[in-house]
Amino acid sequence: MSKSFSSSIRVRKNIRLTLTYIVLAIISVIWLIPFVYIIAQSLSVDTANFSVFFPDEWTFDNYILLFTDQSKPFWRWWLNTFIIAGCTCIIQTLITLATSYAFSRLRFKSRKFIMKTFLIIGMFPSFLTMIINYFLLDILGLSSSIFGLVLIYCASSAMGYYIAKGFFDTIPKSLDEAAMIDGANKNTIFFKIILPLSKPIVVYTVLMAFTGPWGDFMMASYIAQGDVQLMNVAVGLQNLALVGEITKYFSRFCAGGVVTSIPIMILFFWLQRYYVEGVTGGAVKG
């Protein structure tokens, strides 16, 4: 009796697990189709045959052209974007974490007011502000430099404090108090106690800060003003995908997309073990 009961539980568990795997497999296929399509197209000899999945003839020429064609200097765009993304990543992570920590852990007079204000100004459509941001960069003498872009990306990053603050809110306050009794000041608590415990959210912030600049088109096209040396990947590739050009460059556009995704994927692979780790598990119980 008890044996059949436990085996029926096991059967049910197995069914659930199989179902999970089936669902996950279907999801994976759906999510991979466009990715496989982009790789297949990037290896196509025919530069613009959207309507077949796998090309008839295969070639690596698109990748070679990507790095040798001087009129469309893809490596330059790639390098620009990489520098921008690297700088943005560091500065933005620091700003976001500092802001979230201040809102989550410190109690000061204008805290609620600033939080509400951030919420409210975050609701204005952001690209109306782009023209003026361009003028501001012009005044600062950064309007035709990729560091102007870094400044713009970082400047408003404090407004994305929500997720990290939510995370800090769940870290037990008893940790702070214990450290305070041991004579740590607030700076030490932040860097030595809270940050090491918050790896998943730090990694998440780093990832988002790094991936953002790779896809940004609007502000980057303002800065570039058509100068191919100043373009980032998005603006450059968009240049290849203009209405008149797309039939000539479509497979190279796909190749560019593939190359662009490589650094981000490496970063994700490398950081994956951090952002899935639990946090409070080992810290303070109860």
Partner: protein, 511 residues
């Protein structure tokens, strides 16, 4: 009726009773509001008066050092052992005066008229009147006034003045404080002040840079944009499009359909607004719940190859959005690969009009948005889900709770607690979601009934983009008006949610 009596009624009855109670308590609430209003005014008033009281006190009871601080910021500090901070304050004042003389006053004096069109030598230009639209325009070659910069520099000057006022006020207050300290024999040196920046004033250390960034690159441009809504800034001024004027509420009247040539704006705006809200609702909640479910599926203890599943989803984040969206756009064209394959397999006889049929296009953008957004949600949820204290589940399991029950009573409340602000932000982000809509459908399919080039999947934000970027008359003023409307809608909705949200009310529940 007490709370207990209410709880004992059946569910639906409770619902109606609650509504009844709400309306029956309205008169009382209103009368309370009016009774408390004077006290509220008094509270606000006393807050406003407080700075003046401080200044008054500092002037009457202050010694010569404190009084000198009224003229020269930081003198009270310099003579009371806070030399460095005093000098910084003083230098700020010097900078301010120099700035005002050289830059501030010349620009802000033009703020009232936004500049008169002049040529390079300074002669005023010829004024013409456009016969059709009735607007004035100017003809002068190489004009030197640029209204945009007049507004910008005026704003910077005003911001700078506010900063100066604050520095001035706080330096006087500090001087008086140090004077009082001297009386009771307490000392506060530069070193002591510096030390407070890692303890009592740590918030100032952390927030100095972030706040400056937000004020300069977000608040300032926003004020600029709001001001633009009250001007006639558009490319109609072909002669000198860089000089424009204040027009008061004319643009808002145009938006309401009162201006000539703008009759169709109001119905178009309302239709787009409704679609924007529908889109934002579905885009946010489909992503949130499906993303969480995917994260839960992968997080199960028994599931193997966790890394692989996550990586597959993350490849979509790695490919830049505009690449993958353009690709999907090509895939779902009438002669695209999906229609081709479906026809080859004989499932459909004529191509599905993914992008040219309004209804299908609308469903399509929501579906594609799921494809774009679920990996992000999965990523966020994974970290937070693993953070839920394991003992909560353990005790639930011992009590014999089913998985569904555990999800409803532990996982979901915890997730909602942590992510409500994120959800609100997502909702706002979707109302302003430019990428998915524009790159996928360009707002199409187009229709004759909509004004100014708007299409049936256009959100307010993409319509606004069309008005300023792709339309011939780059109508910045009207798009600012739309921007303000978007803001009002979004602010109204999200402030309601925000004030109801548990994670905002009791942030410390899980600490």
């Amino acid at each position: 009726m007490t709370q207990i009596e209410l709880m004992s009624k059946p569910k639906f009855e409770r619902f109606f009773l609650r509504i009844g109670i709400f309306f029956s308590s309205l008169p009382l609430k209103l009368s309370l509001f009016f009774r408390n209003f004077p006290f509220f005014l008094k509270k606000v008033g006393s807050k406003l008066i407080k700075p003046f009281e401080v200044l008054n006190d500092a002037f009457i009871n202050g010694d010569w050092k404190t009084r000198l601080s009224f003229l020269f910021c930081g003198f009270g500090q310099i003579f009371n052992k806070q030399v460095v901070y005093g000098i910084i304050n003083f230098l700020f004042e010097v900078c301010f005066i120099v700035y005002m003389c050289l830059v501030g006053v010349p620009w802000i004096s033009k703020f009232g008229t936004l500049g008169i069109p002049t040529d390079e030598i300074g002669n005023a230009c010829d004024v013409y009147i456009n016969d059709i639209t009735g607007t004035e325009f100017y003809d002068c070659h190489g004009n030197t006034n640029d209204s945009r910069f007049i507004i910008l520099y005026s704003l910077i000057t005003i911001f700078f003045m506010i900063c100066m006022l604050y520095v001035w006020y706080s330096s006087i207050r500090k001087a008086k404080l140090l004077q009082d300290y001297n009386v009771i024999g307490k000392k506060e040196t530069d070193k002591d002040v510096t030390k407070t920046f890692v303890s009592r004033n740590y918030d100032k250390t952390l927030l100095a840079v972030p706040l400056t960034g937000v004020i300069v690159f977000t608040v300032l441009p926003l004020v600029f944009m709001i001001l633009i809504a009250f001007t006639n800034y558009s490319s109609e001024f072909n002669g000198s499009k860089l000089v424009f004027n204040w027009v008061g509420l004319q643009n808002f009247a145009n938006m309401a359909g009162l201006g000539a040539g703008y009759e169709t704006f109001l119905p178009t705006m309302l239709k787009i607004l409704v679609w924007t809200l529908i889109w934002a609702f579905f885009a946010t909640f489909t992503n949130y719940f499906l993303g969480m479910i995917v994260a839960l599926l992968i997080n199960q203890k028994a599931v193997k190859l966790k890394k692989l599943w996550r990586t597959v989803l993350i490849t979509t984040i790695a490919v830049p959005q505009f690449v993958s969206l353009l690709l999907i756009n090509k895939m779902i064209q009438d002669n695209g690969i999906i229609n081709n394959l479906l026809q080859q397999w004989g499932i459909i006889s004529s191509p599905i009009r993914f992008l040219s049929d309004a209804m299908i296009a609308r469903v399509m953008v929501i579906v594609v948005n799921m494809w774009v957004g679920i990996p992000y949600t999965m990523l966020i949820c994974t970290g937070i889900l693993l953070n839920i204290p394991e003992d909560l589940y353990e005790s639930a399991r011992i009590d014999g709770a089913s998985p569904l029950k555990m999800y409803m009573k532990i996982t979901l409340p915890y997730m909602l607690f942590v992510t409500t602000p994120y959800l609100i932000q997502q909702f706002v982000g979707n109302i302003n979601n430019f990428n998915v809509i524009y790159l996928l459908t360009q707002g199409g399919p187009l229709t004759q009934t909509y004004a100014a080039g708007a299409g049936q999947t256009d959100l307010l934000i993409t319509w606004l983009y069309k008005l300023t970027m792709t339309n011939a008359s780059k109508d910045y003023a009207m798009s600012s008006v739309i921007g303000i409307i978007v803001f009002c809608v979004v602010a109204f909705i999200s402030l309601i949610f925000y004030s109801k949200s548990k994670s905002v009310k009791n942030e410390e529940e899980f600490q």
